[in-house]
């Protein structure tokens, strides 16, 4: 016998084709779902040095975002509050609660509380908070429903696509400026509102950049 391979080998090509199609589909779907950055940071919820609950402060007590993140509407940067800000209340409220011990320690020593940063844009991306909140983009568009979180969690992907989605269609995300910090505000699903949003984008000259240099300055 001089055949190098047995007869059944002749059926391999068709099997290989089928296998390739199946494997390729699986790989493509898998990579798309699990391995693209869209899914990598979502769900990130580190334990903070102090078990600060946004659900309690922003949700139940309805403290305005700007009370703690003071400069969000005036600066490109939204600051993390200093210990002093905490102590404005907590020097009186729950002043002996053991949970707040790190806050008091920090206040006494002058060393800031080592909060763990959750939301980050890469250093090659320019992001300005004030521009967004002053033109009707609410905090929760990026940070999610913070007022419901006991532990703050990364809920949006912060991929470039996420930014672009809004930059391409701002009217679908924009809200009246007075409602920006109203985390419980619901977007009316009416034609009238949609028109308003479009007009707002036009009248306030909301012109989100889509070119590379808009963000990668």
């Amino acid at each position: 016998m001089a055949n190098v391979f047995p007869k059944w080998v002749n059926t391999i090509p068709i099997k290989v084709i089928v296998a390739i199609v199946l494997i390729k589909t699986a790989v493509v779907l898998g990579v798309t779902y699990y391995a693209t950055p869209k899914y990598t940071r979502v769900g990130y919820a580190p334990t903070q040095p102090v078990a600060f609950s946004h659900a309690l402060h922003a949700g139940q007590l309805e403290i305005d975002c700007r009370y703690c993140h003071t400069y969000v509407d005036r600066s490109e940067h939204s600051n993390v509050p200093t210990t002093q800000v905490c102590m404005t209340c907590h020097s009186m409220v729950r002043k002996d609660d053991p949970i707040l011990a790190p806050v008091r320690d920090s206040y006494e020593s002058g060393e800031p509380i080592p909060w763990v940063r959750i939301h980050k844009t890469p250093d090659y991306v320019y992001f300005n908070h004030s521009v967004h909140v002053n033109r009707g983009i609410s905090c929760m568009e990026c940070h999610g429903s913070v007022q419901e979180m006991d532990v703050v969690q990364h809920t949006k992907s912060f991929s470039m696509g996420f930014c672009l989605e809004c930059h391409r269609n701002p009217e679908e995300y924009i809200r009246p400026p007075e409602e920006v910090y109203n985390l419980d505000w619901e977007r009316p699903d009416t034609e009238e509102f949609k028109k308003e949003a479009v007009d707002f984008v036009h009248d306030w000259k909301v012109n989100p950049p889509q070119s590379c240099s808009g963000c990668h300055r």
């Binding site: 001089a2 190098v4 391979f5 002749n10 798309t32 693209t36 950055p37 869209k38 992907s157 991929s159 470039m160 696509g161 672009l164 989605e165």
Partner: protein, 503 residues
Amino acid sequence: MATTTQDSSMDATQAALLAKVQPIELHEQPLVTNNRDFNWVTDKICRIVETKTPTWWWICMAVALMTASFTGLGLLWLVSSGVGVWGLANPINWGWAIVNFVFWIGIGHAGTLISAVLCLLKQGWRTSINRAAEAMTIFAVVCAGIFPLFHVGRVWFAWWLFPIPNSNMIWPQFRSPLEWDVFAVSTYGTVSVLFWYMGMIPDLGVLRDRAVQRLNKGVYEGGSAIANKIAEGMDHFRKNFYAILAMGWRNAGNHWRNYEMAYLVLAGLSTPLVLSVHTIVSFDFALAVLPGWHTTIFPPYFVAGAIFSGFGMVLTLMLPLRALYGLHDLITQRHIDNMCKICLGTGSIVGYAYIMEFFIAWYGANPYESFAFINRAFGQYWWAYVMMFSCNVFTPQLFWFKKVRENAALVWIMSIFINVGMWFERFVITVTSLANDFLPTSWGYYSPTMVDILTFFGTFGLFSVLFLLFLRFLPLMPIAEVKFVMPEADPHGHHGDEKGDQH
């Protein structure tokens, strides 16, 4: 196709005319000399991969690997530190990287030209050099691809160049010539591999059958017991390796019919492809509004230059191979003559383009354009221009002389000159235009760094490694096609005495 053939009935005039036909004998060297037969050809080509690895191969391989490691080191350095390790600085933001890219891509073009264009032109002499030339194409594309790939800086993001969905939700910018390059070069590489592989299928079948025959005979003698065992083991390996790749090729007439058609079609596809690839490479320059780059002759001029440099490289490779493997009966003086003449032709076309550029730079009456060209020839890079012009335009003019063409050593040296000259051409185009652009305050002078030099130098090693592997494991020449041009393969006898309708 009886219906489509023109009225084949001849009347007396034509018969009388044909009776007068009395061709003069023209003694032409056959493409396979010394009256070799089919088996000799098969044996000669197959034994290159079937015999024990020669010592010189190991030596060459070691040297080539060492050289290739320079590219590895250079790239490692680049990736770990950033593109700044290359000698790129404003205003010369394109330096050796693009020069080397265009240089290597150009080298590749001869392979496609020989396999495709000469096939369409029915040039029988292509057969004994086309396989090696195609291999050269593929390896040259590999070497070429390295440079733009690593020039992007963050090489792990290079896949963004392809239209694959990603979380940035952006797509490649198809209005950019650099993006066209991605498509052109990857298409070129892929199609070249397809063409190369398909051409090899019948030969792989031959290698398979020979391994099977040897194993069937089962006689392994002539060496020590271990050497014989190794030889047998290698044949087992060959049997399986070639059998898998040959895809069950059986040399059937039906196979050949479809294969020949596919080959012809692929040749027909590769011809516009090879034109388009270097055209698109030329667009990298010509689309920019920079004096010395924006000129409409760039596309055909680049293509001619590419073919020119490619044939230079074919000569550089084939002449030593011919000597090492004793292939004088297959790569004859006629082959060398023809290649020299193509070098002469394309070199002269390149010369035409140089002159036309200069003339139109003047005729166009644009002061920037005129300056760019005067500056090229007489500015701070005059030495590069002299190298380019003398190597590319004057060197091939020596090929007018039969004496020169018959001196293999001289031809080999000249082929190296051609390679050098063509590298300098790309250097002149890239660097001189960038160095002296519209803003004299920012004029600069480009010097490569050590990393540049090592990376480029190493690609010759990489190329040699790949080529040596090819030599060792794949058939160097298309056996079937060499047989096809031999007189014995003519189904009508080979005396040319039959006239009239053959069907």
